[in-house]
């Protein structure tokens, strides 16, 4: 068992009213597992990652990392958050540099990781010269360079175009199976979740809680266009519908409701092992 999250909550004081981002969060993540957290906007998904990364502290409960001495989990952001003044190589070496790794070793590790994400020939480019997908691969290489036990990914492909996203789904599955890292991935894209996850964790809208966990037993590598995958995605979406509606009703004018005429194949539940 890699990560144990018990009774974690987190509140923000936004202006006059206090917002509960996370409430009574309980989750156990196995070593090498690929967890995808799905939920409507504002369900505290990003907060959860920030808490696991140690960038924020929970208001209650605790997060225990197995082998915490291997360094903290590394977070990958939606906008890649590469340092614009450094080259791609410089970015990948950043974590090693602040750890005092000697230059020759740094260069070697960075080259290895850039090869892994297939960006070696862009090592000397500046981040702004890269496309969105390339930036995300550079960010993944930068994270892998410090060899973290856990990778945290906060909607990393949300800003990419559809083709780049499909490619990144393949690349991420390959990188995951090559490195054996534990990954916690946050998205609001249900198909993306089912494509990548061992287990999909569904969150409720404000306050964020776990609604259900759905195990995905499809062979890998998976593709988003796969029919079985689409069926499971429907199931996940059904679970989510109520939550999406709750959020949207807060944001739309009154009288709006989620379209009730959707049709999905019955019996899709057979493919999913609900917990």
């Amino acid at each position: 068992m890699k990560i144990r999250i018990t009774g974690v909550c987190r509140r923000y004081s936004g202006g006059q009213r206090e917002v509960t981002a996370l409430e009574d969060m309980n989750l156990e993540v196995e070593e090498g597992e690929f967890i995808v957290v799905v939920g409507p906007s504002g369900c505290g998904k990003s907060t959860l990652l920030h808490l696991i990364a140690g960038l924020q502290q929970p208001d209650c409960g605790e997060i225990v990392l197995d082998q915490a001495d291997q360094g903290p989990p590394v977070l990958i952001f939606q906008e890649a958050a590469l340092f614009p003044w450094l080259t791609v190589q410089g970015n990948v070496e950043f974590g090693l540099k602040v750890r005092g790794v000697p230059p020759a070793q740094r260069r070697a590790i960075a080259s290895d990781q850039l090869t892994r994400v297939r960006l070696r020939q862009f090592a000397d480019a500046q981040p702004h010269e890269l496309s969105g997908g390339m930036r995300q691969r550079a960010a993944i290489a930068r994270a892998l360079a410090v060899d973290p036990p856990v990778l945290l990914m906060d909607e990393p492909f949300a800003a990419l175009d559809a083709q780049s996203r499909d490619i990144m789904h393949q690349e991420l599955q390959r990188i995951w199976s090559e490195t054996g890292k534990t990954i916690i991935f946050v998205t609001h894209n249900v198909r993306e979740a089912v494509c990548l996850a061992d287990r999909v964790v569904l969150m409720t809208a404000r306050p964020g809680r776990i609604k259900s966990i759905i195990k995905v037993n499809l062979p890998r590598p998976r593709e988003v266009s796969d029919g079985n995958l689409a069926q499971i995605a429907h199931v996940v979406l059904d679970h989510l519908r109520e939550e999406i509606q709750r959020v949207e009703q807060e944001e739309f004018d009154s009288g709006w409701s989620y379209q009730e005429s959707r049709i999905h194949p019955t019996g899709a539940d057979d493919l999913a092992d609900r917990r």
Partner: protein
């Protein structure tokens, strides 16, 4: 420009004593260089600039950093900095003369006062506008404390800081000229005063041209390329 100048002079609207033509100004420039009075004045002014501006940069960076870190400082010192920035720095001269006496220190103090506040404001603003995500990324990858400040915050804020330094330079240059005009034994401002006292308008105009050229040269040759380099590397513009 030169042609218009020559035409205006040729119209004899003003006496040539008050508005000399380009030729006599050029002659005055050449004479000034020949008898070394101009180079000596330029050197004297530049030495003051280097000291005054150097001090301003040092104070500005430290105070700006401190202000960005501590809200209390920003609320107190920050307001004062913005307020004092609107005060023309030459207004400090009477005070400086009383504090330091009739010497170099007084003029350098005026220069420092002219440049510091715009640098403080730029450093503070630059640091506060650094994307929180870059700081989080830096922390997350293991950079803490000073390493975080020097490897993430400072480079991220650098483009804004350089803009502040450039602004500070022109403020410092203006303050220096004002200071030298009012009180100084040497320097370009002194050349101006001397020209006026002697009724030598060619010398006055020659000095003005030199002052303009130095101001422009530093902007064009130092800050211009620096800003371009930063903009290109930081990806702020596409070339």
């Amino acid at each position: 420009m030169l042609t218009i100048w020559q035409i205006v002079v040729s119209l004899h609207l003003w006496s040539p004593l008050l508005l000399p033509g380009p030729k006599s100004v050029a002659q005055s420039l050449v004479d000034g260089v020949r008898n070394l009075s101009l180079p000596v004045a330029v050197l004297a002014s530049l030495v003051r600039m280097v000291i005054g501006y150097g001090l301003a940069v040092l104070i500005g960076l430290c105070a700006g950093f401190a202000m960005a870190r501590f809200d209390l400082l920003r609320d107190t010192l920050g307001g004062a900095a913005v307020g004092l920035q609107t005060l023309p720095s030459i207004c400090w001269l009477p005070l400086a003369l009383l504090w330091f006496g009739l010497n170099e220190k007084a003029i350098i103090f005026v220069v420092v006062m002219g440049a510091t506040f715009s640098i403080i404001t730029a450093v503070d603003g630059g640091i506060r506008n650094v994307s929180p995500q870059l700081i989080e990324a830096g922390r997350n990858l293991g950079a803490r404390g000073l390493a975080l400040q020097f490897r993430v915050v400072l480079p991220a804020a650098l483009p804004t800081i350089v803009t502040g330094l450039k602004l500070g330079w022109s403020f410092a240059w203006r303050s220096l000229m004002a200071g030298e005009l009012l009180y100084s034994e040497k320097g370009l401002g002194r050349v101006l005063t001397l020209g006026r006292d002697l009724g030598d308008m060619a010398q006055v105009l020659a000095a003005m041209i030199v002052i303009l050229i130095i101001g422009l040269a530093v902007n064009r040759l130092v800050f211009g390329p620096l800003e371009n380099l930063l903009a290109r590397r930081w990806g702020l513009v596409r070339d």
